[in-house]
Amino acid sequence: MTEWLGLPALASAHGGQIDSLIGWTHVFMLILFVGWGGFFAYALIRFRGSRHPVANYTGVKSNTSKYSEIGVAVVEAILLFAFSIPIWAARVDHVPPESEALVVQVTGEQFAWNVHYAGPDRKFGRTDIKLIDLQSNPLGLDRSDPAAKDDVTTLNQLYLPVNKPIIVRLRSKDMIHSFGVPEFRVKQDAVPGLTIPIWFVPNVTTAEMRIRTGNPEFQYEIACAQLCGLGHYRMRGFVTVQTAEEFQKWMDAEEEKLKGESDVFK
């Protein structure tokens, strides 16, 4: 019901609820605008000075306006208590257990997104700002930590399996950034000093989306939505949603690469 609003194609499990809230709110707004606007336009024409030379001191006597105001309040209350508050609660309070989800750490910096997977051991390796090197180790990951040995990091590219809850732990190294993926109906500021978890279930793979949109180059984009400096406009990342198998294949390949690298060091 929200095509008419021109929202981006939807690709997450919870997004439908958000869309329908936006849709219904806009329907409500339109009704109000048309109702009030109709009355307004009619009054302007009907009571123009040339047609209605003597004004009426009392004007409207009915209580309709009072009822319509109460009506507005009631509808707002419904939108609020029946939809917005419960959906939000589900977003922040009912985060699925980490065992059932894929946990990814995403760290914003001027002007890139650093993606950090825990790897097969499901433990994130230690990071230390002293180890940060802009080129080779932007996260300051301490590879000597056993938990870090199998950690996979990528730049501006998030790979996700389809239909699996994803928990993104958002952080920032410098400014406030905002992690927004329009198709997932996800947006959250990354505030330096805080780690803020968000979760969602992507339910359309990139490949499916390419067919659906008829665009063979389609990519999910991460758009930084908070002014973070000169390069804010180009702080763009990509999300590739794959089937579980494809995702696993990619992950295995990354692990192979890591092994190869550590062999070189030995």
Partner: protein, 101 residues
């Protein structure tokens, strides 16, 4: 103030002197109490309690709030409400719960 008579003023002056004594005494008390190194919540409560008493004495007697007009009370009440909203602000932030260091 035109209605104040000399006798009134003399009475006021006696009040000022008394309040002065009380403020001095309370100042010493806070400092002494702080020497005991009470547990933090108690220390904070005591210190703020004493400060509030002192503050109220200053406001009520030196600033004559005790006998001020309704309008001034209204302004101050309004300010007090928003002041509380402002002091609630830290609570709003910290209890987001994600703060790490």
């Amino acid at each position: 103030m035109t209605s104040d008579h000399a006798a009134d003023i003399d009475r006021h002056v006696r009040v000022y002197i008394t309040v002065f004594g009380a403020l001095m005494a309370l100042t010493i008390i806070t400092v002494v109490v702080s020497r005991f190194h009470l547990p933090v919540p108690i220390a904070v409560s005591v210190a703020l309690l004493v400060a509030t008493i002192k503050g109220s004495l200053v406001a009520c007697y030196f600033m004559h709030l005790i006998s001020e007009k309704k309008l001034i009370y209204a302004v101050l009440m309004l300010t007090a409400v928003f002041f509380v909203a402002l002091l609630a602000l830290p609570a709003v932030t910290v209890h987001n719960g994600y703060w790490i260091h």
